[in-house]
Symmetry: C2
Subunit: 310 residues, 2 copies
């Protein structure tokens, strides 16, 4: 298997910074791709061992390009997640002052994060969207725009200066990234894990979604993300991308997934992997009646009843 | 009240075409705004009677800019919805043939809808994003790009020719638009209505979302849209935009909303309005036990019991 990771490029963006926080990234060649689709296709085609892409962000919610790529096509598995706090720097050519700035540029996803700052500090500046924040920095270097919003780390690469740092409209602005590979056995549970699945309803009737969620709820499993995505069959036809607390090797999660497999039209397992937001010591205790031991004891009891030994 | 409707501009886009299908639009001045936010702010400020904006699309799902604007700020109400089938024409300057096309442009939302067509017919063309499909057509007129994807209706306005029409990757590609005004009494039910609300959970525990959906399910109410949106309090913190079948003057819907008001941290009512996808004659019958008459008879029975007359 090639010892390389594909990632959403170009170089010098938050995605690369997040990827480099993974210890295993140090021993791989890191190859930027122009889109989420091309990075995941590189994995599907066996050109890369894994791909690293953004999947959720605290301002925009689920990143639909990534979710749609994981929902369709050859199955892939999430092995790791990384959380990165996102704050922007305003990068300019040396010598530029705030009063010189007529045009600012960044990736469109940055706009909701810097809107209030712009309104206060540069109310008359014109916004120009760029293919990425790094690309915006490059266009500032080339003199096309006056300033770019990007990570402070991008300044050095493009010979720019950070006129302002720590720009973010929302407190706790974070992006979640995932490392995605071809399907194989999930890593062992750590005690603070997450399981991702995609669910397609069998039919549409009152209570259909409530019943799907009941498969998790009745086993004491908390949900962390529920994002509906169009199935392509027209308005109102959705599948559901769900992140749930726990690991597929937990008895309660395995039983919930078996229940979903029975009642859904289709279930796609996207992986069980360690949570980046808490350590195992911080994980909340399982609800009464939902531990592995209690599932085992309950199964034993039913077996004894079936056997006439109650 | 000013007799004008604000809409997401510029002129000559699908939004304007959809707006003109409403009979009431004929008697109003229709004013294009540069963004969903500015169109809705015009309503909030009393500069326009109502605003017309896209809210859901069969390829991209809920339109997050619009949902986020309705979730926050001064309350607004949805009065009407319009469904429009979306197919693109490839617009070029007279004399341009398919083999001459090196650059194509459109709004980024058009890209997933024309991707397969491009791969087959113009695999080497470069994509250039524009602020709107109409703007892309204008840039073709000015000679900056070779071709634009836009509605066929935009050709005449920009002196262009439709080289190809009926382009759409997904069958049943539709966009849903809503007419939004300041809060007032909803129109009377038609027999095929929809109610939109935003729900904020009181706390996060296993089953929390299942219990919210149970308020609808236990009254036989079908859901048509569930879109999670970040609350801004960090990754994993979501509120839920929900469209449900029925009208707030239906007994079952009023009772479901009362239940949600009790158990949610916050509920925002976004309106009850006629469905655009079906006529009242096509509406599905209510489930047994959920008609207005049955709700009334059940309330009478409990009152009699409380009164000792059972």
């Amino acid at each position: 298997m090639p010892a390389s990771y594909a990632y959403l490029g170009p170089e010098g963006t938050f995605t690369e910074v997040a990827l480099r926080t993974l210890p295993e990234a140090a021993t791989r060649e890191l190859i930027p791709y122009v889109s989420v689709q091309s990075a995941l296709d590189a994995v599907r085609a066996g050109e890369a061992e894994a791909a690293f892409v953004p999947i959720e962000n605290s301002v925009e919610g689920g990143i639909t390009t990534t979710l749609d790529e994981l929902v369709a096509g050859a199955p892939l598995t999430i092995y790791r997640e990384v959380l990165l706090s996102i704050t922007f720097a305003l990068l300019v050519r040396p010598g530029t002052e705030l009063t010189d700035i007529k045009t600012v540029s960044a990736h469109p996803a940055a706009q909701p994060q810097v809107r209030n700052w712009l309104r206060t500090h540069l109310p008359d500046a014109t916004w120009e969207s760029a293919a990425s924040n790094a690309d915006a920095a490059r266009l500032v270097q080339e003199g096309r725009y006056d300033a770019a919003f990007a990570g402070e780390f991008a300044a050095a690469r493009y010979g720019l200066r950070a006129l302002e740092t720590g720009i973010h409209d929302a407190e706790n602005a974070q992006t979640r990234f995932v490392l995605v590979g071809r399907p194989s056995r999930p890593a062992a549970p750590t005690g603070a894990d997450k399981t991702s699945v995609v669910l397609w309803q069998r039919d549409d009737h009152p209570g259909a979604l409530r019943d799907l969620l009941g498969e998790f709820a009745s086993r004491g499993i908390n949900l962390m993300l529920l994002q509906s995505r169009p199935t392509g069959a027209g308005i109102g036809n959705y599948c559901f991308c769900i992140d749930a607390e726990g690991h597929i090797s937990d008895r309660r999660m395995a039983e919930a997934l078996r229940g979903l497999k029975r009642i859904c039209l289709q279930v796609r397992f996207l992986g069980s992997y360690p949570r980046a937001d808490i350590t195992p010591a911080e994980a909340r205790p399982t609800l009464p009646g939902t531990s592995d031991e209690e599932f085992t004891a309950a199964a034993d009891w039913v077996a004894r009843c079936q056997d006439g030994r109650f």
